[in-house]
């Protein structure tokens, strides 16, 4: 790395307290971080985001000082009161957590606590988010994460209630911005089924840099709902690596609303035939927020199906970015892949950059993608007005309709309803 790029960001990020476990992996990650230049706008991947405001900060690795349980109520889920883990500033908050309804054999606990009981499963950490082919944010997490969540569902099993993880963050008393590295490892053995709900909340200025690694064995099935309500001055970077085995199924719904700069980067790979993948993402951004979805879907084996929808609602002078890459390798005959990027611009200064991309090396495939950018349809508005609705209500109905499409995929009714309320308020 060149002299000048040793920014306050890297210095403080890498000075985090790190547990001794995963020592080699962490060293490898740090080596690569130091050898690669920082993300900047002259790199294709970061072309549309100016990260100056992230890198020029000094950070303070978040400490163990458990913050007051200010807003545990921030999550609206009532269904998961006994299968809930709360991670506060990167640490397990055992007072707030309750896993009493989780059956024997199923693991839903802190990552470091369970390390000694499942040494062979912990070898999975860093397998998908492998330092040599991950970006800098993912690698910093690998080098520095302190704790996180481990979910393990044995063969053929399935928890009765959804497993709910809440990440909370606050800036502490000091002026220095805390930096938090949540790490989540999910392993579903063959035939296992699970439903995971992952939520982010926060207050003040901080940086969350999370990494999830998800392994789905043969015939396993995972529903994964994510909502991101970080504070409006926070930075949020999340890398999700998903390995979909034979006949396995991964369905994810993600709603992003918070963060001054937020980025989610799902990287999905099919490793066995007849896998299924569904990504339904919605990002709502307002004021000067910047939200980025950067997805990769790799069809490396034959006969898998992927379906991706990314929607953006961009208001005021916010900025939405989508880059979705679908790669169909030569081996992967019989692939079916569809991708759609739909974007609503609500205000004059709102901005969208979208790049749905297909790379196809096999001929017996069904692949398509589409992208649209526009405002609320004038004819539709007129129709609603002709039925006696005023303009604002008409707009609201169309907006909610646009968002509901995605929000309806969230399976917990309480969370779904509260999200709909939020959209209504925004419109």
């Amino acid at each position: 790395m060149s002299e000048g790029s040793e920014t306050a960001f890297l210095k403080t990020a890498l000075s985090s307290l790190r547990p001794n476990s995963w020592k080699l992996l962490r060293e490898h990650a740090e080596e690569i971080i130091r050898a690669t230049p920082l993300p900047s706008q002259d790199q294709e991947e970061w072309k549309y985001i100016d990260l100056q405001s992230v890198f020029s900060q000094a950070y303070n690795p978040a400490t163990n000082n458990i913050i007051k349980p200010l807003w545990i109520g921030a999550s609206s889920a009532t269904e998961t009161a006994h299968s809930l883990l709360v991670i506060t500033n990167g640490q397990l908050d055992s007072n707030q957590s309750n896993t009493s309804s989780v059956d024997n054999g199923i693991v839903f606990s802190s990552l470091t606590n369970s390390a000694k009981d499942f040494p062979e499963k912990h070898e999975y950490v860093g397998k998908l988010a492998c330092p040599s082919n991950s970006d800098m944010f993912s690698n910093i997490n690998t080098a520095c994460f302190e704790d996180g969540v481990f979910i393990y569902i044995p063969k053929g099993r399935s928890p009765l209630t959804p497993l709910h993880i809440i990440f909370r963050a606050t800036s502490q008393a000091s002026d220095v911005t805390p930096i938090i590295f949540p790490r989540i490892l999910v392993v579903l053995e063959p035939g296992a089924k699970a439903h995971i709900v992952e939520e982010y909340f926060g207050e003040g200025k901080y940086l969350t840099n999370s990494v999830l690694e998800i392994f789905l064995g043969e015939g396993a099935s995972l529903a994964h709902d994510r909502t991101q309500h970080e504070s409006m001055s926070a930075f949020h970077f999340c890398t999700l690596c998903i390995d979909i085995g034979q006949k396995a199924k991964y369905t994810s719904t993600s709603i992003s609303m918070g963060g001054s700069i937020s980025r989610q980067k799902p990287i999905c790979k099919f490793t066995g035939e007849h896998g299924e993948l569904e990504l339904n993402y919605l990002s709502l951004v307002n004021t000067t927020q910047i939200a980025d979805t950067h997805s990769t879907i790799e069809h490396q084996v034959p006969n898998c199906t992927s379906k991706q929808v990314q929607k953006f609602i961009v208001d005021n002078s916010a900025h939405g970015i989508f880059r979705g890459q679908i790669k169909v390798h030569q081996m992967a005959q019989g692939t079916s892949a569809s991708q759609s990027s739909r974007n609503l611009l609500l205000a004059k200064d709102a901005k969208i950059d979208t790049m749905p991309q297909l790379e196809i090396l096999a001929d017996d495939v069904k692949c398509s993608h589409g992208a649209t950018v526009g405002q609320l349809d004038a004819e539709e508005l007129f129709y609603l007005q002709s039925r006696g609705l005023d303009l604002d209500s008409a707009k609201n109905i169309l907006l909610v309709g646009f968002a509901t499409d995605i929000i309806n995929h969230i399976s917990l009714p309480s969370i779904r309803n509260s999200l709909l309320q939020k959209v209504l308020k925004q419109g």
């Binding site: 294709e44 030569q330 005959q333 974007n343 611009l345 609500l346 205000a347 004059k348 200064d349 709102a350 901005k351 969208i352 950059d353 979208t354 790049m355 749905p356 991309q357 297909l358 790379e359 196809i360 090396l361 096999a362 001929d363 017996d364 495939v365 069904k366 692949c367 398509s368 993608h369 589409g370 992208a371 649209t372 950018v373 526009g374 405002q375």
Partner: protein, 479 residues
Amino acid sequence: MNISLQNLTSQEYKYGFVTDIETDSVAPGLNEEVITTISKKKNEPSWLLEWRLRAYQHWQTMKYPNWAHLRYTVPDFQKIIYYSAPKPQQSKYSSMDEVDPELLRTFDKLGVPIEERKALAGVAVDVVFDSVSVTTTYKDRLAEKGVIFCSLSEAVREYPDLVKKYLGSVVPYTDNFFSALNSAVFTDGSFCFIPKGVKCPMDLSTYFRINNKESGQFERTLIVAEEGASVSYLEGCTAPRFDTNQLHAAVVELIALNDANIKYSTVQNWYAGDSEGIGGIFNFVTKRGLCKGKRSKISWTQVETGSAITWKYPSCILLGDQSVGEFYSVALTNHKQQADTGTKMVHIGRNTKSNIISKGISAGNSSNSYRGFVKIAPGAEGARNFTQCDSMLIGQTCSANTFPYIEAQNHTAKVEHEATTSRIGEEQLFYFQQRGIPIEEAVSMIINGFCKEVFRELPMEFAVEATNLLSLKLEGTVG
């Protein structure tokens, strides 16, 4: 696709002959001296030489671009001959009789309607051979209407004010690596000026040919349509077969003022290299049109079948309110050809419209990428874009990629993009065969149907040529 369908037989490139005529060339390599020599040989005014040198200096500071989805060895710019002209290079041929008969035979073989006896073709042709414009036909008839159609070097001498005003105004030498290189060493090209209110009475056409083994071709085309003027312009290209790669780095600039209409059609059939990917042209071209005036329209139609590597993005800058940009493309790659092509539509004016139809066909071991860029600037109220990219894969070893970039900064704009991939299915072929249609013909019919929306945009003669070309190129890939 079963084994019998993969019985590959390669179609010979019928334009692959070399014409044995004496040429006047400079030594390979690029430096200020070479540029000065080129300028001197062409009796250029000093402002043009200065411009070339500025471009060269800028070029030296630039990095070679490597973002495209292409794999090849970067050409050695010091091994290229930057000037090669048929001898004797007198000031200009005054009639067809003075032209080297060997050269005329070349154009006969190419089927170029260069001679008056082919007047029925009704096309005015400017022929660029290696580096120098050889002849321009129908000049007088065009002159009656006030249309200027001549080689760029002639235009520099005869109409310096026009050239000075527009040259580099759409594609400045600072634009990209190849436009800088072209600006420094361009040798000739076509110049076309349609005055106010004139509808050009016939299609204009340029024919390009690279003949010399080591020479690169760096031509520049400049077309200006004044208020209310309209013109349809055709471009064709071929090259002999060599086992080395030759570089073609052209720049095309179009300017349309209020209510002007420019239609630019290309059938590109440079030598594509053999089935092992040896030889062939590197086609790195910058084409851009500026819709400067209100309600102006620029339409690009291209049929890209040749070149080892095609790397071009004919673009429209939609500056005038209500201006329209169109891009219709068929790109076919076979064997080891690679194409990274598409368009850029930059919406700046209000109520501007653009329409993109791109059809990519890949066969053999080839790679075919669509790369498009649609930008809606903050002031482009009511802008509208529609993009459709379809890819067809023939065989299991080729690839088709789609890389659209959409940047929207105005909420009243509407942008739509859609892309699909398909292949020629066995059932489709079976259906044709069952009706007594041989496989070759069936493939040709399917391909023609696939490309219909683009072929419809081509002028008549070109449409026929394009259809034949595609069938020829694909011969043997299926069946």
